[in-house]
């Protein structure tokens, strides 16, 4: 007798609980595989996984650290998810983040004496303008010249980082920094403060409001409905008279503006100035998170904290057990792989082939 399997398409996609179960199994599998790797590397797998979670979520500090790191990832991810909804592939969150930081910094350095209630909103507006511009350019090129937005947004990332470098190494360089590339520290009015006695900045509130806003936009507005419909079927949407080209422009600008907002928060709240090391690849992490979360704002929030926690926890793993830093990357890769592979079960199931 042979055990033969075949893959069958489900009549109905898996419901919410089923999806949750698949997701959790995928995560458990990823953690088990990482435990195996730790064991091969000569570390106790149990102790290693414990140190990882301890460092990520195991104490108030750890939790705060993870949330702080999740903030920019969340906003960038929310941004790319808006574009992905329309099946417009914005890979440019990294560059939009950079230009957002540049825009905010320009305001912070030019008007350091403005009162906080004026300065912070002005910084946000310029950050959104900077990021939005970097989303608008590829949208315009796509429309007028039929260029591929994946390539254009990706290449614009490098240009944005060079713009940032140019300013920080040149016009904006702090004269008191011995020639090192960083701007002056922002004035107190330009810094988004921390919530109470925690280490978490008010950016968390920005995330909640923006996340809810994006969710409500897709759920309740006509424009949001048009976007979803056009994303599901471009031809049908065009036939129904939806302004597809205009929608592409809109999502790219929104997408860029959100990543730009993240750049503002990172410069203002966590670094308190602009410097090249502000760029640590959140724009790319955001794409991973958006996919893991299937573009849902709430899931993006959870995914951001999970991935941020992973990165924070790996530091603890290094410090306590001296596991190499590369382990973090491996773990992230495993999670992405198992979760995406698990996605198969939402639409398909495996059944035993019956003998004829």
């Amino acid at each position: 007798m042979m055990l033969r399997m075949r893959i069958v398409k489900r009549q109905e996609p898996l419901g919410m609980w089923g999806s949750c179960l698949v997701l959790i199994s995928a995560l458990v599998l990823a953690v088990m595989l990482s435990g195996l790797l730790l064991w091969i590397g000569g570390t106790s797998p149990g102790g290693g996984i414990a140190a990882l979670f301890q460092g990520a979520f195991g104490s108030r500090w750890a939790l705060e650290d993870s949330v702080v790191k999740a903030i920019p990832i969340f906003l960038c991810s929310l941004g790319v998810a808006v574009a992905f909804r329309l099946k417009v592939w914005n890979i440019g969150a990294e560059g939009q983040f950079a230009l957002g930081a540049v825009g905010a910094t320009w305001v912070a350095l030019s008007f350091p004496e403005w009162p906080k209630p004026l300065l912070i909103p002005a910084m946000i507006v310029m950050a959104m303008a900077g990021g939005g511009l970097w989303g608008f350019i590829p949208a315009l090129l796509r429309q007028k010249l039929r260029t591929n937005e994946i390539i254009v947004t990706l290449m614009l990332n490098y240009i944005a980082i060079l713009v940032l470098d140019y300013l920080v190494y040149g016009a904006w360089k702090d004269p008191a920094s011995f020639g090192f590339p960083m701007t002056r520290a922002f004035s107190d009015q330009a810094v988004v403060g921390k919530i109470g006695s925690t280490n978490i900045n008010w950016g968390l509130l920005h995330c909640v409001v923006l996340g809810a806003g994006v969710w409500a936009f897709f759920r309740f507005t006509r424009l949001g409905f048009d976007l979803k419909a056009s994303g599901d079927n471009v031809k049908a949407a065009k036939y129904a008279g939806m302004p597809y080209d205009y929608l592409v422009m809109l999502v790219m600008i929104m997408s860029g503006a959100l990543a730009g907002w993240a750049g503002f928060l990172e410069a203002s709240a966590t670094v308190n100035r602009l410097q090249p090391s502000i760029m640590v690849g959140y724009g790319y992490t955001a794409i991973v998170v958006a996919w893991l979360a299937r573009l849902n704002p709430l899931s993006i929030g959870i995914g951001s904290i999970l991935l941020a926690g992973l990165r924070v926890g790996v530091e603890n793993l290094q410090l306590d057990l001296q596991v190499p830093a590369a382990f973090g990357g491996i773990l992230e890769g495993l999670i992405l792989l198992t979760v995406l592979a698990g996605g198969l079960f939402t639409h398909y199931r495996i059944e035993q082939r019956k003998n004829p």
Partner: protein
């Protein structure tokens, strides 16, 4: 009864231990910017850490590949929270984050490598690598046939610019016609990018490749092309035995041991130190067999002169790329001028932006 006995034994043992080791146990943490990897900057620091770990009552740990922004603040903060007594942060970008943490943990000792800010419990240290760079420049200048030297460099910051200038001055001291072509990679550690940058220099005729990078990528590129190379950080000869002439190298162990000892004895001072060849914190790796003995002797002579203070690397007249006199005859650059150096000397091809 048994319990009492055990208690007494423990008490006696404890007192004996306290009397024996007057030095308190010390936990030392290191923060590295790149993976420890092969023979690079963090590798050199980690050799220092390993030496310190051998000391009595000293335990060490480290976190590698820590980005120079908010990430580094969190890593340093967590070390302080976990009760590390002394923390070494080994990249320039860790300066402000470390300062923030130092203010929150006044009882912890902090040492920052390559910066300029201090606090009551935070000192900084660096080595005069430019002295060893000058020596490696002499070797490169004497060995080149095309009179074009290639220099793969990370970021246009004073530390790197100073090194390029010293290298160039060393090369010019034996070969006035030499030019040094610089390529910026904008990364400390990226083996593939470093190697590509070296190849681009080889394509424009460079026949000695020097580097301010943390991987041996440029060394491999030189060996593949059959030309010479100058390593950096640690002896990189094993990665390119046919190409590797020598390398300016770091030797952190003695200095780290000294600082750890001061913490152990409770007399840590937040100082700013910048030792050089004389203290052995920087040195030159052994010469490759292709370096003629005459040249080796010459370099060793200059090395002795620098160590004894008879010769200064940055002594006028020195002109910048435009030909403007930056250092007048018979004057030497001050430490502040060296620390804030943002211009290239004449003979360097490249920009500092």
């Amino acid at each position: 009864m048994k319990v009492l006995k055990a208690l007494v034994v423990m008490l006696v043992l404890g007192m004996a231990m306290a009397a024996y080791g007057a030095d308190k146990p010390v936990k030392v943490g290191f923060v590295y910017v790149s993976p420890i990897g092969d023979a690079g900057w963090s590798y050199a620091h980690d050799l220092g850490r390993q030496a310190v770990a051998e000391m009595d009552g000293v335990t060490t740990s480290y976190v590698e590949a820590v980005a120079e922004g908010p990430d580094s603040e969190r890593v340093i903060l967590n070390m302080a929270r976990k009760g590390y007594d002394l923390i070494f942060a080994t990249s320039f970008g860790y300066m402000d984050p470390m300062l923030k943490v130092a203010k929150q943990f006044p009882k912890t000792s902090f040492m920052h490598c390559s910066g300029f800010k201090k606090a009551d419990n935070m000192g900084n240290y660096f080595g005069r690598m430019y002295q060893a760079r000058y020596l490696s420049g002499i070797v490169a200048g004497a060995m080149t046939k095309t009179n074009t030297l290639g220099y793969v460099a990370a970021f246009p910051i004073p530390e790197v610019i100073r090194g390029i200038n010293a290298f160039t001055l060393g090369a010019q001291s034996v070969n006035p016609d030499v030019t040094v072509r610089v390529v910026w990679t904008k990364t400390w550690y990226d083996p593939a990018t470093e190697k590509e940058a070296a190849k681009s220099l080889l394509d424009v005729g460079a026949d000695v490749i020097a580097q301010h990078q943390d991987s041996p990528g440029p060394q491999e590129a030189a060996q593949e092309k059959g030309v010479y190379s100058i390593g950096y950080n640690s002896d990189m000869a094993s990665f390119a035995p046919k190409a590797h002439l020598t390398a300016p190298v770091w030797n952190w162990a003695p200095y780290y041991a000294k600082v750890v000892d001061s913490v152990r004895k409770d007399n840590f001072k937040a100082e700013s130190v910048w030792p050089g060849l004389a203290d052995g914190i920087v040195d030159l790796a052994p010469f490759g067999p292709m370096v003629p003995e005459e040249l080796q002797a010459k370099v060793n002579g200059v090395k002795a002169d620098i160590a004894e203070g008879k010769k200064k690397v940055f002594a006028g007249p020195i002109k910048d790329q435009k030909g403007t006199l930056k250092l007048a005859d018979n004057t030497a650059a001050t430490d502040n001028e060296l620390l804030g150096m943002t211009w290239f000397v004449e003979g360097v091809v490249g920009t500092t932006e």
